[in-house]
Amino acid sequence: MTGPVLVAIVGGTILTVGPQGTIEKGAVLIRDGKIAAVGRDLLVPAGATVIDATGRYVMPGIIDCHSHTAIEESVNECSDSVTAEVRITDVIDHRDVNLYRELAGGVTTLNVLHGSCNTIGGQNAVIKLRWGKPPEELLFKDAPRGIKFALGENPKRSNFRAPGPPRYPATRMGVEAVLRESFQEAQAYKREWEEYEKKVKSLGSRGDKPIAPRKSLRLEELKDILDGKVYVHAHCYRADEILMLIRIAEEFSFKIRTFQHVLEGYKVASEIARHGAGASTFSDWWAYKMEAYDAIPYNAAIMAAHGVKVSMNSDSDELARRLYWEAAKAVKYGGVSEVEALKMVTLNPAWQLGIEQRVGSIEVGKDADIAIFSAHPFAPDARVEQTLVDGVVYFDRAKDVAARTAPATKAGGSP
């Protein structure tokens, strides 16, 4: 290839979700996958591929901070309540058609998490929806590492019976004890390694090398959590367990990056804000289990009012396709402003994943991850027309529709 790859999206209303606010009849210029210019009267350079967005709305690609897409059958390593060593990056199925379906809902980045079977689950994978690329090319390069924790009914296995002997823990007391025990062990492991490294250093080139402590993949990960190298994404529901995890984290001097689901977060919003964690929640799911009975759709608004960075997530291959309306519900329930609501599916989840310098708003220098809607994304007839990742169109509704066979047959067809 020679020269830069240029794309210009022209004529649409641009919801930048950044400092430039909303730009009517604006343009976004993309050079080599990055946003090169945003504004009203941009000169479209010769040779640029022009996307006409007249009458349409252009917003940053949607980020789903809680997904299990592309890891079917490998969501949970349930055999132990602590499995910090397992990695979602090892099991990504890039052929999962739900990746494409989510692109068709304007989604460009996913936080693919281990399930909630375990108190300390596995390591996450932040991916971009570069549909058609192999697993290693889906990974969001340089995104901070993350891990899943889970509290409450799921790790204590309240709602189903698994074969074999019961697994510890079975109460919220036990969940706390598992965390405490794990981090005490991790502290001891860390000390052991520090002492060993000190010894090695003091010996220099003199004498025999001391014997190294035994390496543990599990404790390495927990040690890295203690050292602040890994973002903790903690599945939780009830207020008491949220406070419990804050106590544990503060006692062991690490941070919770996000509380996930956090349906009773509104009851302890100030504590979450003080700890500095984000909150990634459902807009309005409730009553599907005991710990979801006090869930309220005002949760996002209350937490946001306390200064918590809030995102709306899906935890579902279907809901992920309409996160823009999940965001709109924050306007309805609790009167969040439209721009703050948009942030709940863009800039806020970007911050929660530590990638806010790269994605989450339409700003010069950021990745050109963009969703183009037929109407304002909160409007009742809004539909995604095109989705770009790194300036490349990965979803184009017109092309999708044109490619369908007609008339309807067993193999194809179209409603």
Binding site: N159, A408, P415
Partner: protein, 430 residues
């Protein structure tokens, strides 16, 4: 049958409040059955709508609701729910949707409806004023009831029962069971699995056919006994419930998604003289012409993933538009309880994928009323219909719009819910 008694009982509360006259003034009135009135008044009295129009006077002494700048809608009807039958999904003691065994035609939803469920006011606060409460599971799940979402006894809530006999079309595949996730998968070839599936499906259809034949015979015996020709048959609750279904008097709502299965259900219904309504109907767009030809209505759930990898990504979203184009009668339903409040957004999704706004609104108001045989009483704003209405700040299918007033049976309802109570309590917490 107990049903007609219930239908009579529920008229009483409405009559008892006949003195209340309410006028909703100055709003944009979306009548559904006729043109939109840009600025008008709706008067309700005795639980019924008594006047609608641009030039309607507010009667002296009426309670006035100012709807200026707002929109007045007929109450939304959620055509398939478990409202009233479930409180907390995972807590068995709070769930009455699914009876033991798989043949329960005599299970009547209205009997187990909890009028004090926290889920009812939550749905109502977003404009849902009526819902079909239906039993679930098995082969014959039981009888549904059309509920009005206000009142303190099951009878007071019940507008009509039975509305339909609910069945699950046998797919030959075992139902999802979380404990099966831990089982070793059976090592069988695709062909073996297909054979098993077909065998199981045929067995269940045969059972269903036998039950219906038996019910027909039972009904005939009942009729003969009534005419004094034979002694009455031995009481049999399941047969008593199935007899009017076998005669084609009570419709069958058949839960069925796959194209082949929908075709199978249509054929089965035709063979046995059943009045069929399809529930779910994920593939209904593939057989829209057949459904039109056989006049089968569809209760469509919109926010679902496509069935096959090869299906268009928007198959479920665009399903209602395809049914509409083919002239199939359909309603859009939540097929849920706690998510019932999101019914207007399911309609919005159908709208985003090709259904016009008017048809989308009709699919959550007048169309379900018609499918359930109450189209003359509910689902639109016309004189003489039940006074189930609500006022919204804007387009109800817009997730940003709020609901400001809800009337059920002419009575203004509180918009307080479990959620607003917790909101009020905790928004003040520092």
């Amino acid at each position: 049958m107990r049903a007609p008694v219930v239908a009579l009982v529920m008229l009483v509360p409405a009559m008892a409040t006949a003195a209340d006259v309410v006028a909703i003034r100055g709003g944009r009135i979306v009548t559904v059955s006729g043109p939109v009135i840009e600025k008008g008044t709706v008067v309700v009295s005795g639980g019924k709508i008594t006047a609608v129009g641009a030039a309607v006077e507010v009667p002296a002494g009426a309670t006035v609701i100012d709807a200026s700048g707002q929109t007045v809608y007929p109450g939304l009807i959620d055509g398939l729910t478990t409202l009233g039958l479930t409180e907390i999904g995972s807590v068995a003691g709070s769930v009455d949707t699914t009876e033991t065994g798989d043949v329960n035609p005599h299970a009547e939803a209205w009997i187990a409806v909890n009028p004090h469920s926290e889920l009812l006011p939550v749905a109502r606060a977003n404009g849902i004023t009526a819902a079909l409460a239906a039993p679930a599971g098995g082969l014959i799940s039981g009888q549904s009831a059309l509920l009005r979402l206000a009142g303190s006894t099951p009878a007071a809530l019940t507008v009509k029962t039975p509305v339909a006999m609910h069945m699950v079309y046998p797919t030959g595949r075992p139902a999802f069971d979380i404990s099966r996730l831990f089982e070793e998968p059976e090592l069988k070839t695709f062909e073996e699995r297909q054979k098993d599936k077909k065998k199981s499906q045929e067995k269940d259809l045969k059972r269903l056919a036998n039950l219906l034949e038996e019910a027909k015979a039972y009904g005939a015996a009942q009729a003969a006994a009534k005419a004094g020709r034979i002694p009455p048959p031995k009481p049999d609750l399941p047969m008593e419930a199935l007899a009017p279904v076998a005669r084609g008097e009570v419709p069958v709502v058949m839960r069925v998604d796959a194209e082949d299965d929908i075709r199978g259900a249509v054929k089965f219904a035709e063979e046995h003289g059943l009045k069929l309504i399809v529930a779910g109907g994920l593939d209904a767009w593939r057989v829209a012409d057949l459904l039109k030809q056989k006049d089968v209505a569809v209760l469509a759930s919109v926010e679902r993933l496509p069935r096959r990898e090869s299906d268009p990504y928007d198959a479920a979203y665009a399903n209602p538009a395809a049914l509409h184009r083919a002239g199939v009668r359909f309603a859009i339903v939540s097929d849920d309880a706690s998510q019932s409040r999101n019914l207007p957004y399911e309609a919005a999704m159908a709208r985003a994928y090709g259904l016009d706004a008017g048809a989308a609104l009709r699919a959550i108001t007048l169309s379900p009323a018609e499918i359930f045989g109450v189209g003359d009483r509910m689902g639109a704003i016309t004189v003489g219909r039940d006074a189930d209405l609500f006022v919204a700040t804007g387009d109800i299918m817009d997730p940003r719009s709020g609901v400001t007033h809800v009337l059920v049976g002419g009575q203004e309802q509180s918009l307080e819910t479990r959620h607003t109570r917790l909101y009020e309590e905790f928004k003040k917490r520092p």
